[in-house]
Amino acid sequence: MWASSYRFLAEIPFVAPIASKEAGQIDLLWWFLNAVSLVMTVVIFAGVIGFAFKYRKKPGVDPVPVHGSNVLEITWSIIPFLVMLIMFWWGAQLFYTSQNPPKEAEEIFVVGKQWMWKLQYPDGNRGMNELNVPVGKAVKLTMASEDVIHSFSIPALRVRHDVVPGHYDALWFRATVPGKYRIFCTEYCGDRHSQMIGYLNVRNQDDYNNWASGGSTGTLAEQGQALFTQNGCSTCHLLNEQGRCPILKGLYNKPVLLNDGRTVIADDAYLRESILQPNAKIVSGFEANIMPNFQGQLSEENVIQLIAYIKSLASTAPPSQTGTNPPAGTGVPPAIRKPKTILKEQAPIAAVRAPQQ
């Protein structure tokens, strides 16, 4: 019902296409802001023009010294502030929703680099500047940048998020209107910034299935497995017994005790950092400087494939990382830093942003 009424409105050139319920909600807020602005503009214009003419200089009529009114000042401070509080609250609510993907959201990976968007689907499909999603399904985009700051935006869905190099950023949406919608990069990123555009194809389920089955080289996790072997990860990260390195089976999203006493969650950001900067965090009981540093050797897309593989490793036993050495500090007295609790590390909101250490 949203879809059909907005489709009608969309014929009018001043209503931008709306492709999801959330976008429609944001548009409602937009029209509220328009209404308030229109009223205020009319009030001020009428006031200025009205007073200017009514009190224009007339012979024999002197200006009357009306210098102020505390009541008026307070009134016209408080009432606009209250109206603005409505805008604030409404906007904050919708924003909070936009930053919290539903649990069932399917994850698609986006890598931005000058000047293209590379897409990786869990079933192994790849895309270049074209994002395909089935209608009605929640989709979470986990995004990385290979170089400068980009920003992924789909106007029809009213979603946008900067893609900042060095960590993952995420946005989510649930498209409800099939169609083809524009994707723009909206953070200036160099010469061909305006060419960094593409399309979102929202497809009906059958149409989507047709598209998805169109050939691939294995699922994303299978691609990751191939990389895992090719890059020698499997020599240390044995799957069935503990070697010199932490077990990866069942690791995803579980808490990990580090050698400095902190506990962190092994989420996407943690896995990415562990691959690209392995010495940034050392698991308790293991040594530093053993894992090679893959920064520069693995692209962001490779990292995404590897993470998909690690996620796919189901666990039967809880990962107890005992290692061969007793848990020890680095010689720095624990008084310097208290262990962070699990709750503090779990950031359920906003982008999947890695604490840098």
């Binding site: 802001l33 001020i44 102020g68 946008r160 900042v164 060095g166 909101i349």
Partner: protein, 546 residues
């Protein structure tokens, strides 16, 4: 035997009283002056040149955007819009009113002979010129293409343009701004004439004082941000480089910590001008004088607390964003209060429609729209949809051009007779005001729609469905560009050939109107003693001889 007596030039000149313009001649008397009025004119000349430069870039940008694929190459376009922003913000808007009208009027308005530190005043102009030379050099050598915001890591690592040069230009301009602000603050505290207590000061003084506070507190932070970008660019040490653990978002925090208060540097002096103009042409004290003064201070202070609203979509924590959003709405209140007070000033006044007043009307209307559209951007959910689009471009042009530039013109027209002792052509002035208003609206109103439809900013090429609105915008820009030249012409003409006027052609109140036009070097023969409240307006006298 009667001969017709022809006065010699010297004798004719001797009839003209000594003023700050004719007291000394020669380039040294200008380049080494410490007279705040001469320094104001030095600034006026320089910033006009920079305005023309920045405006030329703007015209080229708008011409380029008539075509979906553009007229110039993307590389050229990227430099054009960046240089437009850098020149207009750092070299025109930030100094504009404070360095020209503020420098000229502030001492006079409080009854002083000059600013507290006249030589530092001259130094600030030289710092500005140094910075401007760097900027012009960067332009001549091919420009910068990072956007005026210099975001890392593009500016530090990837850009192939003259980032360091442009950043140094902005750095020096920043120190010019700091010294001006410092001068104003000390002057207002220490050099008010007897009887000129704080609540008798003209609102123009309050506005420039509040601006000075922002200048001294905010500008050093962007100075260090630019230094860090420069060092990173030259030495690649990684402070903003994620590959060595640096954080690009840290740059944004440091940058916007200044650049948001900077927009209040750019608008507060304009608001001061409008208060003066509306009071004079309604023949009334500004309604709610204390509230207008307090709101200037409130904006200055609150303006430092809201910078994160430029960063809602960068991945900063939602709670951080919520705090910034709330505080941004808070800072909107004092601006709204001012608009209401100016409108109420006309109530039961005696309003006339000379050109400064027309500019003031334009300011109120355009600033209202600009300010209201800011609310869309403080609202987090709509900001997600509008950030990085032409909506933002339209918003800030409404407040900066429709607000500040219009206010600057209002002030120039109001005080021109005081500055040069002559009056300009009122019909041309009215015509220019209307043309600017029309051209401006045609340029920027379509951009709100473009932003809502999703067109990103800083785009050298765009999808064809946006072309109609872009062409409309360019049509407006052409009108606006021509319209801006008109005052330059008739004001310059009036300087040399306009009819002479006396001290107070507008029958205005304020100490500046009690001294001759143009003023003498030390403004007052004797330090005045202030005994009445500011804006002691009454009806105009009939048969007043200006």
């Amino acid at each position: 035997m009667a001969t017709t007596y022809q006065p010699t030039t010297t004798e004719a000149a001797a009839e003209e009283p000594v003023n700050y313009l004719n007291v000394e001649h020669g380039w040294k008397s200008w380049l080494f002056t410490t007279d705040h009025k001469r320094i104001a004119l030095l600034y006026l000349f320089s910033i006009t040149l920079m305005f023309i430069t920045g405006g030329a870039f703007a015209i080229l940008v708008r011409l380029h955007l008539t075509q979906p694929q553009g007229l110039f190459s993307p590389e050229t376009y990227n430099r054009l819009f960046t240089m437009h922003g850098v020149v207009m913000i750092f070299f025109f808007l930030v100094p504009s009113i404070p360095a020209t009208l503020g420098n000229f009027l502030l001492p006079i308005m409080i009854g002083a002979k000059d600013l507290a530190f006249p030589r530092i005043n001259l130094l600030s102009w030289y710092l500005y010129m140094g910075g401007a030379l760097f900027a012009i050099f960067a332009v001549a050598r091919g420009g910068v293409d990072t956007g005026w915001t210099f975001y890392a890591p593009y500016s530090t690592t990837y850009s192939n343009s003259y980032v360091l040069t442009a950043a140094m230009g902005a750095f020096f301009a920043g120190f010019s701004s700091i010294t001006t602000g410092l001068n104003f603050i000390v002057t207002v505290h220490k050099m008010r004439a007897p009887g000129m207590n704080w609540m008798r000061m003209p609102l123009m003084v309050w506005a420039n004082y509040a601006t000075g506070l922002i200048q001294i507190l905010g500008t050093p932070v962007v100075a260090i941000a630019l230094v860090l970008v420069g060092i990173e660019r030259v030495m690649h040490v990684g402070i903003f480089d994620p590959n060595v653990g640096g954080d690009p978002i840290l740059f944004q925090h440091i940058f916007w910590f200044y650049s948001h208060p900077a927009v209040y540097i750019m608008i507060l002096p304009g608001m001061g001008v409008i208060s003066e103009v509306i009071a004079c042409f309604s023949r009334k004290r500004p309604f709610g004088y204390e509230f207008i003064a307090a709101s200037s201070m409130g904006i200055a202070i609150l303006g430092f607390l809201v910078w994160g609203h430029h960063m809602f979509v960068t991945g900063q924590s939602v709670y951080t964003g919520i705090v910034f959003s709330f505080l941004t709405f808070f800072v909107a209140v004092p601006s709204a209060v001012k608009v209401f007070n100016w409108t109420a000033t006309m109530y039961k006044g005696s309003v006339t429609f000379e050109s400064p007043m027309l500019y003031a009307f334009a300011f109120i209307g355009l600033f209202t729209i600009g300010g209201l559209t800011g609310l869309y951007l403080s609202t987090m959910a709509t900001d997600v949809a509008l950030h990085g689009t032409y909506f933002v471009v339209a918003h800030f042009h409404f407040v900066m051009v429709g607000g500040m530039v219009v206010a600057f013109l209002a002030g120039l027209h109001f005080w021109w007779p005081k500055i040069c002792g002559r009056m300009y052509s009122e019909p041309w002035a009215k015509f220019a005001a209307l043309l600017i208003f029309a051209g401006f609206n045609l340029t920027f109103l379509p951009q709100f729609v473009l932003g809502y439809l999703g067109m990103p900013r800083r785009y050298a090429a765009y999808p064809p469905e946006f072309q109609v609105l872009n062409v409309l915008s360019t049509a407006g820009a052409s009108i606006l560009g021509i319209a801006f030249f008109i005052p330059m012409i008739y004001l310059t003409y009036a300087w040399f050939y306009g009819p002479k006027v006396g001290p107070n052609p507008w029958q205005a109140k304020g100490l500046e109107w009690t001294i001759q036009s143009p003023p003498t070097t030390f403004n007052f023969d004797q330090t005045p003693t202030v005994t009445e409240e500011a804006y002691n307006y009454g009806p105009r006298e009939e048969n007043y001889v200006a």
